[in-house]
């Protein structure tokens, strides 16, 4: 199974896309048999989006700021509805956030991110997994305090991920060529 994703880097962000994808694969493939497939990667010169004004990072009732509205428009229409954004950060300085405008699935990762932030935020969007208290788990917070890396996913978390419509079977891709 693969999870296709578009990556958008806002110029000026301190990114390690290849490393983040590799680490996400390390957790997701061993626990769920899922690999992350970057179908497109863009770097965008938009200084206004380097540091995001954001009111909250809530799933339900998220208030979409003007900055978020503009950011989450980037990278759309490139073959998948899932977009990961690399920015400098939000104005408060948190590591990432998976709250997104309705109909525009995605998350952002900032310069304060840990090696596991990308996989963690992806886990909020794909599978709608919430935070857990087990510090060995990818969905614990903060990921900078994860113990015994690489972190784990539970069977329940994996089941939620496998239920997500964004996933593609490799065999179905081959048949569609």
């Amino acid at each position: 199974m693969i999870i296709p994703i578009v990556i958008v880097v806002i110029e000026g962000a301190d990114e390690d896309v290849d490393g983040d994808v590799q680490r996400a694969d390390q957790v997701w493939s061993s626990e769920s048999g899922i690999f992350v497939d970057v179908v497109a990667r863009l770097t965008v010169d938009r200084p206004a989006l380097q540091i995001l004004s954001q009111t909250d990072c809530s799933g339900a009732g998220h208030v979409v700021s003007a900055d978020e509205d503009e950011l989450f428009d980037l990278g759309r229409g490139l073959g998948t509805d899932l977009v990961g954004y690399y920015i400098v950060g939000d104005v408060a300085g948190f590591a990432g956030c998976a709250a997104h405008p309705p109909g525009r699935r995605g998350f952002w990762v900032g310069d304060a991110a840990s090696p596991w932030t990308f996989g963690h935020e992806l886990g909020h969007v794909v599978g709608d997994n919430s935070h857990v208290s087990d510090s060995d788990n990818l969905m614990s917070t903060p990921t900078a305090n994860i113990t015994n890396p690489p972190p784990d996913l539970t069977a329940d978390q994996t089941a939620r991920i496998l239920d997500d419509p964004a996933l593609l079977c490799v065999s179905s891709i081959v048949l569609n060529l």
Binding site: I51, D56, C57, S58, A92, G93, G96, T141
Partner: protein, 154 residues
Amino acid sequence: MKPNMEPELQAAFEAEESGALSALARKGRAEHVESLREIAADPSVDAEYRRKALWALGVAEDHESVPRIESALPELEPRERMAAIDALGRIGTAPALAVVERYADDPSPQVRKFVVEALDRIGAPEARATLRSMAAEDPEGWIRSLASERVPER
């Protein structure tokens, strides 16, 4: 220096995302808000904590913190000034606006971006006038564009 905080507030500061801190700020428990004010105003506290505290005071719309934010601003680094200006924009009172306007010519374009957003959020006639000035005169093209977008058509 890492500030001393009540455990729930500390966990919110150290979380991956801002959700927990914004929720606590909105609840506005007196002891939490006072902690945020102290952290925001204390120059010995690590910048990452001050930044989060400043932002959270804005989410809490804490009018009483305006004088402390105003006093702290001159010695803050750009990232912290952004959080302070963002907070003042969310607080939105006349005293907050007066402070925001003084930073319309901040040397950091990113700080000026947050001045534009704060002025837009406040929306008073004086704020609109400052936005028009920034739209016409800011030395950075992208700031002029951003301010232009936020100025309502007459």
